[in-house]
């Protein structure tokens, strides 16, 4: 009997294709929005996780000046900068596996016909290890270049593509501001970073080259430290803090004039923000699902009024109230379920498109799909019940007389 009722409901819905389609639209949009939001949110969480992994595990960042955790500009003017000797001293700690002092300068980079304004990073060979980079083609800085300030550079995939297209960049000259350098290496692409920035838009030069020839000073603006594998970031931070306080002559109860951040913590904060955003957007989407449900109720009410005579006929030939109720309820549920199925497909397609566009992983989740599906069926039952009950309570005589 229930299968029979489903068949009847499908027939009834097919008789009114346009209306059925429009009614479903609300549910389709609601479900699609929820699915797309959650899937994209999940994808970007995974992307955050992946970029944390790409940072390398157990990496601490040191910056002059005291600052809070997380991204954002900070005034470092008053704070004493680091020096390369600080980096060397840090490298001698047993808890440290690799050290990467860096400076940066925004410059216009020219090669052949192409040019690009980007941030130039002055780094040492430790940069690649700490940042988890691999040289895809060519080589990294050698220790002589680290110390000498040689005119060489290593470029990221985006810079390569912008300046050289598909041509081999090795041995080519790159003009960085007023300095020329020879390209000695091309880095393996990493894709979008934690903040959605393009990590591959990158030009590395030996730190001394940047300090002397582009910036004209000996300052080091940040030092990243990769800890030895078995060392916890707490212990690493403690030892590094002690060393730096000592080197910067900060006495017992004075506050640090530098900060140490655990990049994994930044990622955690980001991923927290990410889930809050996903949650908010999903709630907005859920509201649209609710509106879709109210749309179903509306149309079912109109449908009950319009089909009053049909209901009268059914009652006259012996339909019980329960059977009329079931019929209209099933119609509402079928509407919302079919809408839910279409919504899932549309939502996944949208999420897939967005993932490609945002360069994040496509992360469909069966649980969410099932949940959205179940929820749309529930909406059908809840919002279909009132109109269905109205239909079931009609008086057969009045219903038959209805024009």
């Amino acid at each position: 009997m229930i299968w029979e009722t489903v068949r009847l409901a499908l027939l009834a819905l097919r008789r009114n294709k346009l209306r059925s389609a429009l009614t479903m639209l609300g549910i389709v949009i609601g479900v699609a929005a929820v699915i797309a939001m959650v899937t994209v949110g999940q994808g970007s969480s995974r992307s955050v996780a992946a970029s944390v992994e790409s940072l390398g595990t157990n990496v601490l960042s040191l910056r002059p000046g005291s600052r809070g955790m997380g991204p954002g500009p900070v005034s470092t003017q008053s704070a004493r900068p680091f020096s390369l000797r600080d980096a060397e001293a840090l490298g001698e700690l047993s808890v440290v596996k690799a050290v990467s002092p860096t400076v940066s300068s925004t410059q216009t980079v020219v090669a052949g016909n192409g040019n690009l304004t980007t941030s130039i990073t002055g780094a040492t060979s430790g940069y690649l290890e700490v940042g988890g980079w691999t040289v895809w083609h060519g080589r990294g800085f050698n220790s002589a270049e680290d110390r000498s300030g040689a005119s060489v550079c290593i470029i990221g995939a985006t810079v390569h593509k912008t300046l050289f297209g598909t041509a081999d960049p090795l041995g080519q000259q790159l003009r960085v501001g007023k300095v020329s350098c020879e390209v000695i290496g091309l880095l393996q692409a990493k894709g979008a970073g934690t903040f959605g920035q393009d990590q591959d838009e990158l030009v590395l030069m030996p730190i001394r080259t940047v300090q002397r020839r582009l910036l004209g000073n000996d300052n080091v603006t940040s030092i990243s430290v990769a800890l030895a594998p078995e060392v916890s970031s707490q212990r690493g931070a403690r030892e590094i803090e002690a060393l730096m306080r000592d080197r910067r002559r900060i006495s017992g109860n004075q506050a640090n004039d530098f900060s140490i951040t655990d990049r994994a913590q930044i990622a955690e904060v980001l991923s927290g923000i990410n889930s809050v955003l996903t949650g908010m957007l999903s709630s907005v989407a859920a509201v649209s699902l609710l509106v879709g449900g109210i749309g179903i109720m509306n149309i079912m009410l109109v449908s009950v009024t319009e089909r009053t005579r049909e209901i009268g006929i059914r009652l006259a030939v012996g339909a019980e109230s329960r059977q009329v109720l079931t019929q209209f309820l099933v119609e509402a549920v079928v509407l919302s379920l079919v809408g839910g199925i279409i919504g899932v497909i549309v939502g996944l397609a949208l999420a897939f498109g967005a993932s490609l566009f945002m360069a994040i992983p496509f992360a469909p989740q069966l649980v969410i799909v099932l949940l959205a599906f179940g929820f749309s069926a529930l909406i059908g039952v809840i919002f279909g019940f009132f109109p269905a009950r109205k239909a079931a309570r009609l008086d057969p005589i009045d219903a038959l007389r209805h024009e």
Binding site: L8, L11, R314, L315, A316, G318, E320, S321, L400
Partner: protein, 242 residues
């Protein structure tokens, strides 16, 4: 089976002292006023009377679509005046068939599906339903029209589909409310011959409301209403023969 109605046959429908009022107090309307009526198995009764005379109310009560305000209604010997909505639906499903003036077919639904409808509510398997619905359509002379919907059928054909729907559940009574009211004279007589045939050959009791004397002449007995009461109840004098 040839029906020979008369006092010898058991009463199928028995209304005793039935009244039906609408509203209450000052605005009370007495549609049916202390009426007695007995219809025996196999009868063909025409019900006439001006509008507001109580004939439609009587039909609704007999058809278990409405309940009397007071009085007793015995259907096939069973008291049914106090049954609830769903029990009355069950009785309609199993023992009654309806034919309306406006045909009342489901729109955008094939003739076959319209005729199947009562059987669906009987819970009959689909194959059997289709077989019975086809047989009923054959009986009313609509072979080959099973797939047509109402908009593709003439008024007479639509009424035949409605009659097929009324008889497909093998009812004891067919209640016809001005079955020829929307039809021209030629089609009207075709429909009446069909009803007469169902009464004579299948022994189905027929109660029919009409405004036209020549339509009433197909019945055996004529009951006339006025002001909520039965004014006359007699055999049809000049019966149109089958």
């Amino acid at each position: 089976m040839v029906a020979t109605p008369g006092p010898s046959r058991p009463p199928l429908i028995e209304l005793s002292d039935v009244s039906r009022t609408y509203g209450s107090g000052e605005t009370e309307v007495r549609a049916l006023d202390h009426t007695d009526l007995i219809i025996r198995q196999g009868e063909f009764v025409a019900v006439m009377g001006p509008s507001g005379s109580g004939k439609s109310t009587t039909m609704n009560i007999i058809g278990l679509l409405d309940r009397p305000t007071s009085g007793r209604y015995l259907f096939n010997g069973v008291e049914v005046q106090d049954l609830d909505r769903d029990r009355r639906a069950l009785l309609r499903r199993h023992f009654l068939g309806f034919v309306f003036q406006g045909f009342n077919l489901l729109p955008r639904t094939s003739a076959l599906e319209n005729v199947e409808l009562p059987l669906i509510y009987k819970g009959m398997p689909r194959a059997e339903r289709i077989e019975r619905a086809r047989a009923a359509l054959h009986k009313v002379g609509l072979d080959g029209r099973e797939g047509h919907d109402a908009s593709q059928l003439s008024g007479g054909q639509q009424q035949r589909v409605a009659i097929a729907r009324a008889l497909v559940g093998e009812p004891m009574v067919i209640l016809a409310d001005e079955p020829t009211g929307n039809l021209d004279s030629h089609r009207s007589h075709e429909i009446m011959r069909l009803l007469q045939q169902l009464n004579r050959e299948d022994g189905i009791t027929i109660v029919m409301v009409t405004h036209e004397d020549d339509i009433a002449a197909y019945a055996r007995r004529l009951v006339s209403f006025a002001d909520g009461r039965i004014r006359a109840d007699a055999p049809v004098p000049e019966r149109t023969p089958a």
